[in-house]
Amino acid sequence: MQKFYSNITQIVGDVITVEAENVGNAELAQVITRRGTSLAQVIRLDEKKVFLQVFAGSRGISTGDRVRFLGHPMRIPTGEMLLGRIFNGSGSPLDGGPALDENLVEVGGPPVNPVKRIIPEKMIRTGIPMIDVFNSLVESQKLPVFSIAGEPYNELLARIAIQAEVDIIILGGMGLKYDDYLFFKETLEEQGALSRSIVFMHTAADPIVECLLVPDISLAVAENFALAGKRVLVLLTDMSNFCDALKVISITMEQIPSNRGYPGDLYSQLASRYEKAVDFDTAGSITILAATTMPGDDVTHPIPDNTGYITEGQFYLKNGVIEPFGSLSRLKQQVNGKTREDHRTIMDTMIQLFAEYRETLEKQAMGFEMSAWDQKLLKYGRLFEKEMMSLEVNIPLEKALDLGWEILHQCFSPEETGIKRSMIDAYWPGTHEG
């Protein structure tokens, strides 16, 4: 019944052009070559010319190969059956399990009506003080982890996957080293978290087009669970590889690049993915954490820059710790007023003092005399770095707040902290006993 087209007129990069009729934009097709059958997607139509982006890459495609259009856009199976499974970027199993074709949903569906969203108000506890105390993660939030190659961002994501209080974890890997893939797989298995996880994995060795699909299919599956009332956490790593794949395709399509070769619609492309993070008014939620490596540690590079404008804050991972400056959870104010009354006070005070500590460090490095106040700051800063910042620390929020008061108490007198008197009276260690 379905017609085969065999007039391939152009092969550029991973995009082939075939002459065909009655084809829909964004429709899926099969390209049948000697090396096997690959999926492909329509990305442009021009009279009879159909431009297809071939998932497996164009290598080995001959001008005489056949193309068959499937009449539907990209779809992905969904549901409980996927839990504990590992797939590649086109949705084929990587774990030796059976292929699934149930509950198919279209990938990249329409945006959520803003009036059907609710104000996020549920904190996701991670047991990491730099997140819970200073930049709380909130359900439906989208946050990137900005770092540079070599930083333990995958380790951080894995730890969050294990410790975060959510129902389902979806891990989307893009352009990962095979070692990193194995690391995630083993960590999730060992910690018993694989059973609540679904993994879509694209490694650096896989065709580049599949990299583009990973966020879309991860989020389509997540959306399906969220609509069923589940709280889903989507971990994406590394979004920079996704952006680079976008660049490759847009240059192949001869689009005019805007900034460092990236397409002009990079912002919209990223936004349409990140904006899938949602808290539905009568169903579940999607939260997104995405590792984004910054080329050259440059936050003004188009990838982190556009990302920062879309996401609700960012974590900076630097020298193996979450850097308090620059790191920001925009939604923290929605939740940290409802945890414990001293949460915001501790957060603000400790950060302001830590900023002063950093200035003192600079002064010290330049050989200036340290005043009595400087000495106090130095003591404080070192304690803060050791007891709060280290990613090894795994304590609940309340313990972390108590620890904060204890550190302040060890270093300063109450008025030096600038904390309101009523708070000091209630929480300053030693005051209630005396």
């Binding site: 829909g24 442009r44 009506n113 803003p114 805007s258 619609d265 936004a271 302001q352 600038g418």
Partner: protein
């Protein structure tokens, strides 16, 4: 251009389709693509030969070559009439709550709804009478919309003078019923109803004259009102890197600004931020009117994951609605967040059109588009002598936080005030992160000019000393300089910085600003005597703590008076000794 004009799709690339036509078409004409049962709205943006290039306001997946396109002969227009206040529209003026009621969680494409309810009846009261001579923009009567008299006016598109033949008496009318009959100079009779249509990309000019903006628009943000004020009918921009607090600032202004109507254009930004406004405004009471804030707000919401072409039109939709309320003699504030997303939407389309790119691939017409948008702000005298204004505040999101980029530069040329946010201020948690050293305003502040200049001088001096101290250290700085540095830090901490999460501190009315500023000016000018720097530091830490408490004490409350007495006592100790 009569009869049904049609064309057929020949090319589809992203959200741009090319259509072959054989009867005349108009630039910027709206057309509908027929895709099965769906009709997708689009707009002609370029015509070459018998091919029209159109931007589609929807996702284009599934569209096929040869599908039919129907031209409408209309420019992209909005419906203007009672019922917009409190409403949430998308960039094409579809009411989002109605869409949600019909389609549920998601925005299904190809569904367009009436912007204003056709069934709602309004209590009409006439003001014009038979025999009156009227022209476009003149008032025929009014209906009560929330707390305003919503005037029904002679449609702005009607040219020349008209004679009122008949006006309905008081009674209930729906938006499309005729409320008056007008006779033009040729004797033809036209019907006026409660609502009219207006093409969004053309400014409404039914007024006598445009005036120079002079009156301040009080935002209750101290840093803005005191140092970098905005005028009613003026323009300002807030550029800043991500995370510097642009949106929070815009939200605070939308809450507290002293305007009659606030139009919020959420253009290509996060949906979450709009949601906060949508959900909280109905519960917040505007102290000036006693009505919920949502009653004075219109939200145009085209967030970043909604179609790009509609994002481009959303700012025009917003400014048209703002102009409409201005025509009633109201003061309207339009907040656009973010104009960079709007500029990027232009860039995306320009790229698809394969136009020769300008700087950073933005189109060459970027500047003129930005300029003509801000020019739609202004204070105007209407035909009946009343004043109305549109003030535009645009957030700008410069790539890399670099103000040299094209959108920021094009905006700076045309606005009256610049509130530049800096990363270093926001990193140091100094909110609002408007950098007082780079910001400027061409409008007059209600703060005494001399006091204001002294404040700004101190900030510059404090910054210079801080820079110097970084090189020579504290010990290399004289006590006098160190004191100026402490004063400037004090001024920054207790006046310029404002705690958005403190119910009192988040908004400071004009009277309190003048009072506190004068007090701080006194402190700035005082001579203090300290024996060493540690003593001075300690004193200012104490002063700061007291002031912080003072800032969160309600204006003229008992706590306010008490803290002030405490502060004055502390000051007296130090100044007396010297």
């Amino acid at each position: 251009m009569t009869g049904l004009r049609k064309g057929r799709i020949t090319r589809i690339s992203g959200n741009m389709v090319t259509v072959r036509f054989d009867s005349p078409v108009m630039q910027n004409e709206v057309a509908y693509i027929q895709h099965g049962k769906e009709r997708l709205k689009s707009e002609i943006i370029r015509v070459r030969g018998n091919l029209a290039e159109m931007q589609v306001y929807e996702d284009t997946s599934g569209l096929k070559i040869n599908e039919e396109v129907e031209f409408t002969g209309d420019l992209l227009s909005v419906e203007l009439g009672p019922g917009m206040l409190g409403q949430i529209f998308d960039g094409l003026q579809n009411p989002l709550p109605d869409l949600a009621a019909q389609c549920g969680f998601f925005l299904k494409r190809g569904i367009y709804m009436e912007a204003l309810s056709g069934s709602e009846a309004w209590d009409f009261t006439p003001v014009a009478k038979a025999g009156d001579k009227v022209r476009a923009g003149d008032k025929i009567g009014f209906v009560q919309e929330k707390m305003f008299r919503h005037y029904c006016m002679v449609p702005f598109s009607w040219e020349g003078f008209f004679e009122v033949v008949f006006v309905e008496g008081p009674g209930k009318f729906t938006k499309n019923q005729a409320i008056a009959h007008l006779k033009d100079e040729k004797g033809n009779v036209h019907h006026v109803s409660l609502c009219q249509r207006w093409p969004v990309k053309i400014p409404i000019r039914a007024y006598r004259e445009k005036l120079k903006p002079t009156e301040p628009l009080v935002t209750k943000m101290r840093l803005i009102d005191s140092l970098f004020p905005v005028a009613r009918g003026g323009t300002y921009c807030i550029p800043g890197p991500f995370g510097a607090g642009k949106t929070v600032l815009q939200q605070l202004i939308s809450k507290h600004a002293d305007a009659d109507v606030v139009v919020i254009a959420a253009c290509g930004e996060r949906a979450g931020e709009v949601v906060e406004t949508i959900k909280t405004f109905p519960t917040l009471v505007d102290p000036k009117t006693g009505h919920p804030l949502s009653d004075r707000t219109v939200i145009i919401c085209n967030t970043s994951s909604m179609p790009v072409a509609a994002r481009e039109s959303s700012v025009y939709t917003a400014v048209t609605i703002a102009e409409y309320y201005r025509q009633m003699g109201l003061h309207v504030l339009l907040l656009a967040d973010s104009t960079s997303r709007w500029a990027q939407a232009m860039r995306e389309m320009s790229g698809r059109l394969e136009e020769i790119p300008g700087e950073e691939a933005f189109p060459a017409y970027l500047e003129s588009h930005i300029a003509s948008f801000y020019e739609r702000a202004g204070l105007v005298r209407l035909y009946d002598g009343a004043l109305g204004s549109v003030t535009i505040g645009g957030a700008v999101s410069p790539a890399g936080g670099n103000f040299e980029e094209p959108v920021t530069q094009a905006t700076l040329k045309v606005v009256g005030a610049f509130h530049g946010l800096s990363r270093s201020r926001s990193d140091a948690r100094r909110y609002p992160a408007i950098d007082p050293l780079i910001s400027w305003s061409k409008y007059r502040s209600f703060i005494d000019q001399e006091q204001k200049e002294r404040g700004q001088w101190l900030l510059r001096k404090g910054n210079d000393i801080a820079q110097m101290m970084r090189v020579v250290g504290e010990e290399g700085t004289s006590l006098g300089d160190y004191l100026d540095y402490l004063k400037s830090e004090f001024f920054d901490f207790v006046y310029l910085q404002q705690n958005a999460f403190d119910p009192v501190d988040e908004a400071t009315p004009e009277e309190r600003q003048s009072y506190v500023f004068a007090f701080i000016d006194e402190i700035i000018q005082s001579d203090f005597s300290f024996s060493n720097k540690d003593e001075a530091l300690h004193f200012f830490q104490q002063l700061r703590q007291l002031f912080r408490g003072w800032n969160s004490a309600p204006w003229q409350s008992e706590e306010f008076e008490r803290t002030e007495t405490e502060i004055r006592a502390l000051l007296a100790e130090r100044t007396k000794a010297g």
